[in-house]
Protein backbone atom coordinates (compact mmCIF):
# COMPACT_ATOMS: atom_id res chain seq x y z
CA UNK A 1 0.00 0.00 0.00
CA UNK A 2 1.18 3.42 -0.91
CA UNK A 3 2.23 5.43 2.08
CA UNK A 4 0.19 8.56 2.46
CA UNK A 5 0.42 11.66 4.51
CA UNK A 6 -2.72 12.11 6.57
CA UNK A 7 -4.27 15.00 8.36
CA UNK A 8 -5.41 14.03 11.84
CA UNK A 9 -9.13 13.97 12.60
CA UNK A 10 -10.52 16.68 14.85
CA UNK A 11 -12.87 16.31 17.83
CA UNK A 12 -15.19 19.12 16.93
CA UNK A 13 -15.05 21.99 14.52
CA UNK A 14 -15.14 22.50 10.80
CA UNK A 15 -13.49 20.73 7.90
CA UNK A 16 -13.19 22.47 4.56
CA UNK A 17 -12.55 19.67 2.10
CA UNK A 18 -11.97 19.45 -1.65
CA UNK A 19 -10.26 22.82 -1.83
CA UNK A 20 -8.59 23.35 -5.19
CA UNK A 21 -4.98 22.19 -4.75
CA UNK A 22 -2.74 25.06 -3.71
CA UNK A 23 -5.56 27.35 -2.60
CA UNK A 24 -5.69 26.49 1.10
CA UNK A 25 -3.58 29.44 2.22
CA UNK A 26 -5.75 31.81 0.22
CA UNK A 27 -8.85 30.38 1.86
CA UNK A 28 -7.32 30.95 5.27
CA UNK A 29 -6.60 34.54 4.36
CA UNK A 30 -10.03 35.08 2.84
CA UNK A 31 -12.03 34.02 5.87
CA UNK A 32 -9.58 35.52 8.26
CA UNK A 33 -8.63 32.37 10.11
CA UNK A 34 -5.17 33.64 10.93
CA UNK A 35 -6.09 34.43 14.51
CA UNK A 36 -3.96 33.11 17.35
CA UNK A 37 -6.88 31.32 19.06
CA UNK A 38 -7.63 29.13 16.05
CA UNK A 39 -6.22 25.62 16.16
CA UNK A 40 -5.88 24.50 12.57
CA UNK A 41 -4.52 21.72 10.46
CA UNK A 42 -3.77 22.32 6.85
CA UNK A 43 -3.17 19.71 4.19
CA UNK A 44 -1.81 20.80 0.85
CA UNK A 45 -1.66 18.73 -2.35
CA UNK A 46 -3.22 15.61 -0.78
CA UNK A 47 -4.29 12.95 -3.23
CA UNK A 48 -7.99 12.75 -3.90
CA UNK A 49 -9.99 10.21 -5.87
CA UNK A 50 -12.32 12.92 -7.09
CA UNK A 51 -9.88 15.71 -7.86
CA UNK A 52 -6.45 14.13 -8.25
CA UNK A 53 -5.00 16.62 -5.80
CA UNK A 54 -6.73 18.71 -3.18
CA UNK A 55 -6.16 20.87 -0.15
CA UNK A 56 -7.95 20.48 3.15
CA UNK A 57 -8.32 22.67 6.24
CA UNK A 58 -9.49 21.48 9.65
CA UNK A 59 -10.36 24.04 12.27
CA UNK A 60 -10.99 23.09 15.90
CA UNK A 61 -13.92 24.61 17.76
CA UNK A 62 -14.85 27.17 15.18
CA UNK A 63 -18.11 27.37 13.27
CA UNK A 64 -18.01 29.45 10.10
CA UNK A 65 -20.71 31.95 9.23
CA UNK A 66 -22.68 31.53 5.99
CA UNK A 67 -20.87 34.55 4.59
CA UNK A 68 -17.48 33.06 5.33
CA UNK A 69 -18.51 29.73 3.88
CA UNK A 70 -19.82 31.22 0.68
CA UNK A 71 -16.81 33.41 0.08
CA UNK A 72 -14.67 30.25 0.00
CA UNK A 73 -16.46 29.33 -3.20
CA UNK A 74 -14.92 32.31 -4.94
CA UNK A 75 -11.45 30.82 -4.86
CA UNK A 76 -12.46 27.19 -4.71
CA UNK A 77 -15.92 26.58 -6.21
CA UNK A 78 -15.87 22.82 -5.53
CA UNK A 79 -14.98 22.97 -1.85
CA UNK A 80 -17.24 21.21 0.60
CA UNK A 81 -17.84 21.86 4.26
CA UNK A 82 -18.22 19.34 7.04
CA UNK A 83 -19.20 20.12 10.62
CA UNK A 84 -17.76 17.70 13.18
CA UNK A 85 -18.87 17.07 16.74
CA UNK A 86 -17.23 14.39 18.91
CA UNK A 87 -15.46 12.97 15.87
CA UNK A 88 -18.83 12.51 14.12
CA UNK A 89 -19.92 14.26 10.98
CA UNK A 90 -23.09 16.06 11.98
CA UNK A 91 -23.62 18.23 8.94
CA UNK A 92 -22.39 18.65 5.38
CA UNK A 93 -22.95 22.06 3.93
CA UNK A 94 -23.11 22.95 0.30
CA UNK A 95 -20.94 25.92 -0.56
CA UNK A 96 -22.68 28.50 -2.70
CA UNK A 97 -20.98 31.34 -4.47
CA UNK A 98 -22.32 34.61 -3.01
CA UNK A 99 -24.26 36.95 -5.31
CA UNK A 100 -22.62 40.02 -3.73
CA UNK A 101 -19.12 40.37 -2.40
CA UNK A 102 -18.30 43.37 -0.19
CA UNK A 103 -14.66 44.29 0.21
CA UNK A 104 -11.73 41.87 -0.18
CA UNK A 105 -11.65 41.97 -3.99
CA UNK A 106 -9.38 44.60 -5.56
CA UNK A 107 -10.73 45.95 -8.86
CA UNK A 108 -8.11 45.34 -11.58
CA UNK A 109 -9.24 48.47 -13.48
CA UNK A 110 -6.75 51.27 -12.66
CA UNK A 111 -9.31 53.90 -13.77
CA UNK A 112 -11.90 52.56 -11.30
CA UNK A 113 -12.97 54.91 -8.51
CA UNK A 114 -12.30 52.15 -5.93
CA UNK A 115 -8.59 52.44 -6.76
CA UNK A 116 -8.62 56.23 -6.41
CA UNK A 117 -11.02 57.23 -3.65
CA UNK A 118 -11.35 55.65 -0.24
CA UNK A 119 -14.23 53.25 -0.83
CA UNK A 120 -14.88 49.59 -0.13
CA UNK A 121 -15.25 47.53 -3.30
CA UNK A 122 -18.50 45.79 -4.15
CA UNK A 123 -18.65 43.02 -6.70
CA UNK A 124 -21.54 40.97 -7.97
CA UNK A 125 -21.39 37.48 -9.35
CA UNK A 126 -21.53 37.68 -13.15
CA UNK A 127 -20.93 34.03 -14.07
CA UNK A 128 -20.57 30.72 -12.23
CA UNK A 129 -18.68 28.52 -14.65
CA UNK A 130 -16.09 29.93 -14.88
CA UNK A 131 -16.54 32.25 -11.90
CA UNK A 132 -16.76 35.86 -13.04
CA UNK A 133 -17.39 38.99 -11.02
CA UNK A 134 -18.47 42.48 -11.98
CA UNK A 135 -17.38 45.64 -10.19
CA UNK A 136 -20.46 47.61 -9.16
CA UNK A 137 -18.59 50.87 -9.66
CA UNK A 138 -16.78 50.70 -13.00
CA UNK A 139 -19.06 47.81 -14.14
CA UNK A 140 -16.15 45.91 -15.69
CA UNK A 141 -16.33 42.13 -15.59
CA UNK A 142 -13.37 39.94 -14.59
CA UNK A 143 -12.62 36.24 -14.26
CA UNK A 144 -11.93 35.30 -10.66
CA UNK A 145 -8.33 34.46 -11.66
CA UNK A 146 -7.81 38.06 -12.77
CA UNK A 147 -8.67 39.70 -9.44
CA UNK A 148 -6.52 40.07 -6.36
CA UNK A 149 -7.80 39.74 -2.83
CA UNK A 150 -6.97 42.22 -0.10
CA UNK A 151 -7.28 41.61 3.64
Amino acid sequence: MKKQLKVDPIKSGTVIDHITAGKALQVIDLINLKQPENLMMIGVNLSSNKMGKKDIIKIENRVLSDDEVNSIALISPNASLIIIEDFEVIKKKKIEIPEKIKGHIVCPNPACVTNIEKVETRFELAGKDPVEVRCEYCEKKYGIEEVKFRF
Binding site: A111, C138, E139, K141
Partner: protein
Protein backbone atom coordinates in the same frame (compact mmCIF):
# COMPACT_ATOMS: atom_id res chain seq x y z
CA UNK B 1 -35.48 56.59 -8.61
CA UNK B 2 -33.23 59.00 -6.75
CA UNK B 3 -30.18 59.03 -9.02
CA UNK B 4 -29.41 58.20 -12.62
CA UNK B 5 -26.06 56.45 -12.61
CA UNK B 6 -26.19 53.54 -15.03
CA UNK B 7 -28.64 52.04 -17.50
CA UNK B 8 -28.16 48.82 -15.53
CA UNK B 9 -30.26 50.36 -12.74
CA UNK B 10 -33.02 51.57 -15.07
CA UNK B 11 -35.96 49.19 -15.53
CA UNK B 12 -38.07 48.92 -18.65
CA UNK B 13 -40.88 50.64 -16.71
CA UNK B 14 -38.54 53.53 -15.79
CA UNK B 15 -37.53 53.88 -19.43
CA UNK B 16 -41.13 54.00 -20.63
CA UNK B 17 -42.07 56.47 -17.90
CA UNK B 18 -39.21 58.81 -18.81
CA UNK B 19 -40.01 58.60 -22.53
CA UNK B 20 -43.62 59.47 -21.76
CA UNK B 21 -42.61 62.35 -19.50
CA UNK B 22 -40.19 63.76 -22.09
CA UNK B 23 -42.96 63.68 -24.72
CA UNK B 24 -45.35 65.48 -22.37
CA UNK B 25 -42.74 68.14 -21.65
CA UNK B 26 -42.02 68.57 -25.37
CA UNK B 27 -45.73 68.86 -26.17
CA UNK B 28 -46.24 71.28 -23.27
CA UNK B 29 -48.80 68.96 -21.65
CA UNK B 30 -46.98 69.32 -18.34
CA UNK B 31 -45.02 72.23 -16.92
CA UNK B 32 -42.65 71.01 -14.21
CA UNK B 33 -41.28 73.87 -12.11
CA UNK B 34 -37.65 73.87 -10.99
CA UNK B 35 -37.67 77.47 -9.78
CA UNK B 36 -35.74 78.06 -6.57
CA UNK B 37 -33.59 75.00 -7.23
CA UNK B 38 -29.90 75.01 -8.06
CA UNK B 39 -28.15 72.38 -10.15
CA UNK B 40 -24.38 71.89 -9.96
CA UNK B 41 -22.86 71.04 -13.33
CA UNK B 42 -19.58 69.38 -12.42
CA UNK B 43 -17.69 68.61 -15.59
CA UNK B 44 -14.36 67.37 -14.23
CA UNK B 45 -13.89 66.18 -17.79
CA UNK B 46 -15.09 68.92 -20.14
CA UNK B 47 -17.86 68.21 -22.65
CA UNK B 48 -19.35 71.28 -24.28
CA UNK B 49 -22.42 69.65 -25.78
CA UNK B 50 -23.57 67.64 -22.79
CA UNK B 51 -22.81 70.61 -20.53
CA UNK B 52 -24.91 73.02 -22.66
CA UNK B 53 -27.70 70.50 -23.01
CA UNK B 54 -28.06 70.09 -19.24
CA UNK B 55 -27.75 73.82 -18.65
CA UNK B 56 -30.52 74.44 -21.19
CA UNK B 57 -32.72 71.76 -19.63
CA UNK B 58 -32.33 73.31 -16.16
CA UNK B 59 -33.08 76.81 -17.39
CA UNK B 60 -36.09 75.70 -19.42
CA UNK B 61 -37.47 74.17 -16.23
CA UNK B 62 -37.05 77.53 -14.50
CA UNK B 63 -34.12 76.42 -12.36
CA UNK B 64 -30.63 77.82 -11.94
CA UNK B 65 -27.21 76.29 -12.32
CA UNK B 66 -23.58 76.80 -11.55
CA UNK B 67 -20.81 75.15 -13.49
CA UNK B 68 -17.35 73.78 -13.24
CA UNK B 69 -15.42 72.61 -16.28
CA UNK B 70 -12.05 70.89 -16.24
CA UNK B 71 -9.90 70.24 -13.22
CA UNK B 72 -7.15 72.82 -13.66
CA UNK B 73 -8.76 75.73 -11.84
CA UNK B 74 -10.41 73.84 -9.05
CA UNK B 75 -9.76 72.34 -5.68
CA UNK B 76 -9.05 69.08 -7.49
CA UNK B 77 -5.70 70.55 -8.44
CA UNK B 78 -4.99 71.30 -4.80
CA UNK B 79 -5.29 67.60 -4.02
CA UNK B 80 -8.76 67.60 -2.49
CA UNK B 81 -10.45 64.23 -2.66
CA UNK B 82 -13.49 63.83 -4.89
CA UNK B 83 -15.50 62.99 -1.77
CA UNK B 84 -14.64 66.33 -0.15
CA UNK B 85 -15.37 68.32 -3.32
CA UNK B 86 -18.76 66.63 -3.61
CA UNK B 87 -19.64 67.08 0.06
CA UNK B 88 -18.89 70.79 -0.21
CA UNK B 89 -20.88 71.25 -3.42
CA UNK B 90 -23.82 69.37 -1.92
CA UNK B 91 -24.08 72.09 0.77
CA UNK B 92 -25.00 74.59 -1.97
CA UNK B 93 -26.75 72.66 -4.71
CA UNK B 94 -30.05 70.76 -4.89
CA UNK B 95 -28.74 68.21 -7.38
CA UNK B 96 -25.51 67.32 -9.15
CA UNK B 97 -24.81 66.57 -12.80
CA UNK B 98 -21.36 65.08 -13.07
CA UNK B 99 -18.93 63.99 -15.75
CA UNK B 100 -15.64 62.48 -14.67
CA UNK B 101 -12.99 60.37 -16.36
CA UNK B 102 -12.81 58.07 -13.32
CA UNK B 103 -15.03 55.03 -13.87
CA UNK B 104 -17.62 54.55 -11.18
CA UNK B 105 -17.21 58.18 -10.05
CA UNK B 106 -20.92 58.90 -10.41
CA UNK B 107 -21.97 55.91 -8.31
CA UNK B 108 -19.42 56.93 -5.72
CA UNK B 109 -20.84 60.47 -5.80
CA UNK B 110 -24.39 59.23 -5.30
CA UNK B 111 -23.25 57.26 -2.25
CA UNK B 112 -21.34 60.25 -0.88
CA UNK B 113 -23.96 63.00 -1.02
CA UNK B 114 -27.65 63.15 -0.05
CA UNK B 115 -28.84 65.07 -3.09
CA UNK B 116 -29.69 63.44 -6.46
CA UNK B 117 -26.78 62.71 -8.81
CA UNK B 118 -27.05 62.41 -12.58
CA UNK B 119 -24.19 60.70 -14.39
CA UNK B 120 -23.17 62.73 -17.44
CA UNK B 121 -20.44 60.23 -18.32
CA UNK B 122 -17.89 58.30 -16.24
CA UNK B 123 -14.85 57.38 -18.32
CA UNK B 124 -15.53 54.52 -20.71
CA UNK B 125 -18.32 53.24 -18.49
CA UNK B 126 -21.79 54.81 -18.68
CA UNK B 127 -23.55 57.83 -20.16
CA UNK B 128 -27.17 57.07 -19.31
CA UNK B 129 -28.73 60.39 -20.32
CA UNK B 130 -27.30 59.91 -23.83
CA UNK B 131 -28.81 56.42 -23.94
CA UNK B 132 -32.16 57.82 -22.79
CA UNK B 133 -32.19 60.60 -25.38
CA UNK B 134 -31.27 58.06 -28.06
CA UNK B 135 -34.19 55.89 -26.98
CA UNK B 136 -36.44 58.94 -27.07
CA UNK B 137 -35.27 59.76 -30.60
CA UNK B 138 -35.86 56.18 -31.74
CA UNK B 139 -39.34 56.09 -30.16
CA UNK B 140 -40.26 59.45 -31.70
CA UNK B 141 -39.21 58.44 -35.21
CA UNK B 142 -40.49 54.86 -35.15
CA UNK B 143 -43.51 55.19 -32.88
CA UNK B 144 -42.24 52.26 -30.79
CA UNK B 145 -39.10 50.69 -29.36
CA UNK B 146 -40.33 47.15 -29.95
CA UNK B 147 -39.09 44.80 -32.71
CA UNK B 148 -36.78 47.26 -34.47
CA UNK B 149 -33.80 46.47 -36.68
CA UNK B 150 -30.86 48.63 -35.69
CA UNK B 151 -27.34 48.89 -37.04
CA UNK B 152 -24.52 50.35 -34.98
CA UNK B 153 -21.40 51.37 -36.85
CA UNK B 154 -18.05 52.95 -36.11
CA UNK B 155 -16.18 52.58 -32.84
CA UNK B 156 -18.17 49.96 -30.97
CA UNK B 157 -15.37 49.01 -28.61
CA UNK B 158 -14.72 52.24 -26.77
CA UNK B 159 -17.98 54.04 -27.56
CA UNK B 160 -19.87 53.74 -24.27
CA UNK B 161 -22.95 55.26 -25.96
CA UNK B 162 -23.51 52.19 -28.09
CA UNK B 163 -22.96 49.89 -25.11
CA UNK B 164 -25.62 51.58 -23.00
CA UNK B 165 -27.98 51.78 -25.94
CA UNK B 166 -27.57 48.12 -26.86
CA UNK B 167 -28.18 47.14 -23.23
CA UNK B 168 -31.26 49.34 -22.95
CA UNK B 169 -32.75 48.24 -26.28
CA UNK B 170 -32.28 44.57 -25.48
CA UNK B 171 -35.48 44.76 -23.41
CA UNK B 172 -37.45 45.54 -26.59
CA UNK B 173 -36.79 42.54 -28.85
CA UNK B 174 -34.42 44.20 -31.31
CA UNK B 175 -32.32 42.81 -34.16
CA UNK B 176 -28.83 44.31 -34.18
CA UNK B 177 -26.17 44.60 -36.84
CA UNK B 178 -22.72 45.69 -35.70
CA UNK B 179 -20.15 47.03 -38.18
CA UNK B 180 -16.76 48.29 -37.08
CA UNK B 181 -13.06 48.17 -37.93
CA UNK B 182 -11.46 44.99 -36.68
CA UNK B 183 -9.95 46.42 -33.50
CA UNK B 184 -13.00 48.45 -32.57
CA UNK B 185 -15.59 45.68 -32.37
CA UNK B 186 -18.35 45.40 -29.80
CA UNK B 187 -16.76 44.04 -26.60
CA UNK B 188 -17.29 40.38 -25.78
CA UNK B 189 -19.02 41.15 -22.46
CA UNK B 190 -21.73 43.15 -24.24
CA UNK B 191 -22.18 40.37 -26.78
CA UNK B 192 -22.38 37.83 -23.93
CA UNK B 193 -25.08 39.89 -22.26
CA UNK B 194 -27.08 40.11 -25.49
CA UNK B 195 -26.75 36.37 -26.04
CA UNK B 196 -27.88 35.71 -22.47
CA UNK B 197 -30.97 37.83 -23.10
CA UNK B 198 -31.70 36.05 -26.37
CA UNK B 199 -31.10 39.15 -28.50
CA UNK B 200 -30.41 38.55 -32.21
CA UNK B 201 -27.26 40.24 -33.48
CA UNK B 202 -24.82 39.86 -36.32
CA UNK B 203 -21.41 41.39 -36.94
CA UNK B 204 -21.02 42.46 -40.55
CA UNK B 205 -18.18 43.96 -42.52
CA UNK B 206 -20.09 45.26 -45.51
CA UNK B 207 -23.04 47.44 -44.58
CA UNK B 208 -24.55 47.73 -48.09
CA UNK B 209 -26.59 44.49 -48.00
CA UNK B 210 -28.24 45.33 -44.66
CA UNK B 211 -29.33 48.87 -45.56
CA UNK B 212 -32.84 47.94 -46.91
CA UNK B 213 -33.68 46.13 -43.65
CA UNK B 214 -32.85 48.86 -41.21
CA UNK B 215 -35.13 51.08 -39.14
CA UNK B 216 -32.26 52.89 -37.45
CA UNK B 217 -28.59 53.30 -38.14
CA UNK B 218 -26.56 54.61 -35.21
CA UNK B 219 -23.22 56.02 -36.31
CA UNK B 220 -20.40 56.81 -33.91
CA UNK B 221 -17.22 58.75 -34.36
CA UNK B 222 -13.91 56.95 -34.35
CA UNK B 223 -12.12 59.06 -31.79
CA UNK B 224 -8.59 60.13 -32.58
CA UNK B 225 -7.78 60.72 -28.91
CA UNK B 226 -8.44 57.04 -28.13
CA UNK B 227 -5.52 55.93 -30.29
CA UNK B 228 -2.00 55.79 -28.92
CA UNK B 229 -0.51 55.60 -32.40
CA UNK B 230 -1.75 58.09 -34.98
CA UNK B 231 -1.05 55.68 -37.84
CA UNK B 232 -3.56 53.23 -36.40
CA UNK B 233 -6.19 55.96 -36.43
CA UNK B 234 -5.42 56.91 -40.03
CA UNK B 235 -5.90 53.27 -41.05
CA UNK B 236 -9.46 53.01 -39.73
CA UNK B 237 -10.88 56.53 -39.71
CA UNK B 238 -12.56 56.22 -43.10
CA UNK B 239 -13.75 52.64 -42.67
CA UNK B 240 -17.43 53.56 -42.68
CA UNK B 241 -18.65 56.77 -44.23
CA UNK B 242 -22.34 57.42 -44.74
CA UNK B 243 -23.14 59.12 -48.05
CA UNK B 244 -26.47 59.77 -49.84
CA UNK B 245 -25.62 56.85 -52.19
CA UNK B 246 -25.52 54.43 -49.27
CA UNK B 247 -29.05 55.51 -48.34
CA UNK B 248 -30.62 54.89 -51.76
CA UNK B 249 -32.46 51.74 -50.81
CA UNK B 250 -33.43 52.38 -47.22
CA UNK B 251 -36.96 52.04 -45.86
CA UNK B 252 -39.16 55.11 -45.65
CA UNK B 253 -39.11 55.16 -41.85
CA UNK B 254 -35.29 54.82 -41.76
CA UNK B 255 -33.45 57.34 -39.61
CA UNK B 256 -29.79 58.08 -39.09
CA UNK B 257 -28.61 58.86 -35.57
CA UNK B 258 -25.27 60.14 -34.31
CA UNK B 259 -24.36 61.34 -30.79
CA UNK B 260 -22.31 64.24 -32.30
CA UNK B 261 -19.85 65.76 -32.80
CA UNK B 262 -19.21 64.13 -36.16
CA UNK B 263 -16.03 64.43 -38.14
CA UNK B 264 -16.45 62.89 -41.56
CA UNK B 265 -18.37 59.67 -40.89
CA UNK B 266 -21.58 61.24 -42.23
CA UNK B 267 -21.06 63.55 -45.20
CA UNK B 268 -22.81 66.93 -45.06
CA UNK B 269 -24.83 66.03 -48.21
CA UNK B 270 -26.68 63.51 -46.05
CA UNK B 271 -27.96 66.36 -43.84
CA UNK B 272 -30.47 67.37 -46.52
CA UNK B 273 -31.97 63.89 -46.85
CA UNK B 274 -35.13 63.01 -44.88
CA UNK B 275 -33.10 60.34 -43.07
CA UNK B 276 -30.79 62.70 -41.20
CA UNK B 277 -32.01 62.99 -37.62
CA UNK B 278 -28.90 63.84 -35.58
CA UNK B 279 -29.65 67.51 -35.01
CA UNK B 280 -33.20 66.77 -33.84
CA UNK B 281 -31.61 64.06 -31.70
CA UNK B 282 -29.56 66.76 -29.94
CA UNK B 283 -32.73 68.80 -29.42
CA UNK B 284 -34.47 65.73 -28.01
CA UNK B 285 -31.65 65.56 -25.48
CA UNK B 286 -32.92 68.70 -23.79
CA UNK B 287 -36.46 67.30 -23.41
CA UNK B 288 -35.13 64.02 -22.07
CA UNK B 289 -32.83 65.77 -19.59
CA UNK B 290 -35.75 67.93 -18.47
CA UNK B 291 -37.71 64.72 -17.89
CA UNK B 292 -34.85 63.11 -15.93
CA UNK B 293 -34.43 66.16 -13.69
CA UNK B 294 -38.21 66.35 -13.23
CA UNK B 295 -38.37 62.73 -12.10
CA UNK B 296 -35.35 62.80 -9.79
CA UNK B 297 -36.42 66.10 -8.21
CA UNK B 298 -40.04 64.90 -7.86
CA UNK B 299 -41.34 68.02 -9.61
CA UNK B 300 -44.63 66.42 -10.66
Amino acid sequence: MKNLISMRDVSKEDILELLDLAAKIENKEVHPDLSGKLGALLFFEPSTRTHFSFDTAIKKLGGQSFSMSGTSSTSVKKGETLADTLMTISQYADFIVMRHKIEGAARFAAETVDIPVINAGDGTNQHPTQAMLDLYSIKKTQGTLENLTIAMIGDLRLGRTVHSLAQALSEFNPTFYFASPRHLQMPQYIKDELTAKGVRFEEVEDIHPIMPHLDIMYVTRIQKERFAVLEDYEKVKDAYIVTPELLEEVKENFKLLHPLPRVNEITTEVDKTPYAYYFQQAKNGVFMRQAIITKLMNLI
